[in-house]
């Protein structure tokens, strides 16, 4: 298995225009990752998948990370090879421009089908938009939900129990000294 630096050099030679950097991991796990520029990410990913020496045909884990202080979101992909099953993960990361309006990243679902639901999840919970994703809808939260709950600055609703249903009346009856129902829907729920 190549080290992250070797891989970076090889990829850089293959894709001179692409921005590729090694993100070192200072921890004992030493799973270093490659930071790919969004513009060439899909091409690089395809190369990683089809390169016979690597054959990273299996994308195990896709997730978002919210770096609140640094001000960007990250999509992290953990790649393994089933054709050449040895060695640790090759980790690639894609970064958005910021956390508000430049949150689009290229979807890698066309490269690895396993990204389909996991990218949907990253979209749902982190608000990363994946361009060219075949079916980019909310997956865990309901469709009308507006916020992205895994972001670090997400404000939880103050009352999870409150639902605009008849259930609420039942609940109020069950508790004789009923507290006044919330005047409006809690944060995060649509009116």
């Amino acid at each position: 298995m190549e080290t992250a630096e070797q891989l970076r050099d090889r990829l850089q030679a293959q894709f001179p225009a692409a921005e590729i950097a090694v993100v070192p991991n200072p921890g004992p796990a030493a799973q270093h990752s490659l930071l790919l520029g969004a513009a060439h990410a899909r091409a690089v990913a395809l190369f990683l998948r089809d390169d016979p020496a690597l054959a990273l045909d299996y994308c195990s884990n896709v997730t978002g990370v919210d770096w609140l202080q640094a001000g960007y979101l990250e999509a992290v992909y953990h790649l393994f090879s089933m054709a050449r099953p040895q060695g640790g993960p090759v980790v690639i990361r894609l970064r958005t421009g910021n956390r508000t309006d430049q949150v689009t990243l290229p979807s890698l679902t066309p490269v690895w089908r396993s990204c389909e639901f996991q990218e949907r999840e990253a979209f749902d919970l982190f608000g990363i938009r994946f361009a060219d994703h075949p079916d980019l809808r909310r997956i865990l939260m309901w469709d009308e939900f507006v916020d992205h709950p895994m972001r670090k600055d997400y404000v939880e609703p103050d009352d999870y129990e409150w639902e605009p249903t008849a259930h609420h009346e039942v609940l109020a009856k069950a508790r004789p000294p009923a507290p006044a129902p919330p005047s409006g829907p809690p944060e995060g729920t649509p009116p």
């Binding site: 921890g27 016979p52 195990s60 040895q86 396993s114």
Partner: protein, 389 residues
């Protein structure tokens, strides 16, 4: 496995789409779930039927969503351990292990020998438990009136009793810790486990006599929900489902985590990738698990079960990240942890095998009947606690 023997990756997307025309009349949209007897929890399949043939099927998730990952980021490393029990509530022990393994990777924590053996024993018992139950559920889905399921649960009960006397709880074990196991096994525990393992082969024989050769089961499962190896690899399908397609990828062999390289066991592979293969691979895996258990129970050394350097409270790994994974009964269960040096993980991510294995649900079901949908879903082996997190 050589690279040449491996099928080339395929472009993603469902492979079969039945086309309907005016002649066949209206399509029937049917919402299977979230309240349906065989969706294995609160899961919904938005299916479109042509007669009884499925032409479109979209899984709908999230009814059991509780944002497990956010909970994990708001509690200490240790505090997430009991929550992992509730991911795949059949396999608390392997979830615990996967999480402990990731945290140990993150912190560079060693694990004593006896704890490694205990972990292997518990993981393999969990595999027996999960596969037995899955076989029972799958047969229940094919319409057997509870009998295989009750036999499966009869055996599961014995394993749960073992878990209870070891960890105090039958399903929510919360047993692994960073750097070992919470407690040592009670005095006669290993002997009892040995008894159970000795009797398990006979149970499997009887179970197979009941159902494996049954012509109705063969007709219901063979050729149903065929999954190609290429699609399985591309879709990240893992566990028995992947091996049923013929891809030899078992993390116990590939990663050799824990002390698995010390054990002699084989990885069964299917050639058809259909529901019957998925069922049989699990049965054969159980027989291999029994071998591992025999060896592990024989060789388990004395000693501490907790690394003396490990701290229960105040587990604060240095900044960094780690992705740890093990071969859970349902597939690759992984935890991705990012530490910023604090008491809580900065990012806590679960890689749920159930969710990823569901990616190909529509591909498997297209062109099959409604009755097959239920069986295919049963053979994927999902637990909604893990899918929805």
């Amino acid at each position: 496995m050589s690279a040449s023997a491996f099928p080339p990756p395929v472009p993603p997307g469902p492979q079969v789409r039945a086309v309907t025309d005016e002649f066949h009349g209206d399509l029937l949209e049917i919402s299977m779930g979230p309240h349906h007897p065989s969706t294995h929890g609160v899961f919904r399949m938005q299916a479109t039927l042509d007669g009884e043939t499925v032409v479109k099927l979209k899984p709908v998730f999230g009814y059991l969503h509780r944002n497990h990952e956010k909970l994990g980021e708001n509690t200490s490393y240790l505090g997430s351990m009991p929550y992992t029990d509730r991911l795949d509530y059949f396999c608390a022990m392997t979830n615990n292990w996967a999480y402990a393994l990731s945290a140990e990777k993150l912190a560079g924590q060693a694990v004593p020998e006896r704890a490694e053996y205990l972990r292997v024993i518990l993981a393999e018992l969990t595999r027996l438990l999960n596969h037995t139950c899955l076989a029972g559920f799958l047969l229940q889905d094919t319409g057997a009136s509870g009998t295989p399921l009750m036999y499966a649960f009869r055996e599961r009960e014995k394993i749960l009793d073992l878990f209870e006397s070891l960890s105090g709880s039958r399903m929510m074990c919360n047993f692994q810790r960073f750097g070992g196991c919470r407690t040592d096994a009670p005095a006669d525990w290993l002997a009892r486990a040995g008894q159970l393992v000795d009797g398990y082969g006979a149970f499997l024989d009887e179970f197979e006599a009941l159902i494996t050769g049954n012509e109705i089961l063969l007709a219901r499962t063979q050729g149903v929900g065929r999954l190609s190896a290429a699609l399985a690899v591309s879709a990240g399908v893992t566990g028995p489902m992947l091996r049923a397609t013929g891809v030899a990828y078992d993390l116990r062999k590939v990663d050799g985590y824990g002390i698995y390289p010390r054990f002699d066991f084989r990885v069964p592979l299917g050639d058809h990738g259909d529901t019957y293969d998925r069922y049989m691979i699990r049965v054969l895996e159980m027989r291999e698990s029994i071998k591992i258990l025999h060896a592990a129970l024989r060789e388990i050394p004395a000693g501490p079960v907790m690394d003396p350097k490990a701290k229960l409270r105040g587990f604060r790994p240095k900044p960094g990240e780690a992705y740890g994974r093990i071969e859970g009964p349902k597939g690759e269960i992984g935890f991705y942890l990012i530490s910023d040096g604090g008491a809580n993980p900065y990012r806590y991510r679960v890689r749920p095998p159930s969710l990823v294995n569901l990616t190909i649900l529509e591909d498997l079901c297209l062109g099959h009947t409604l009755a097959d949908t239920v069986v295919i879903l049963g053979s994927i082996d999902i637990v909604l606690g893990e899918v929805d997190r």
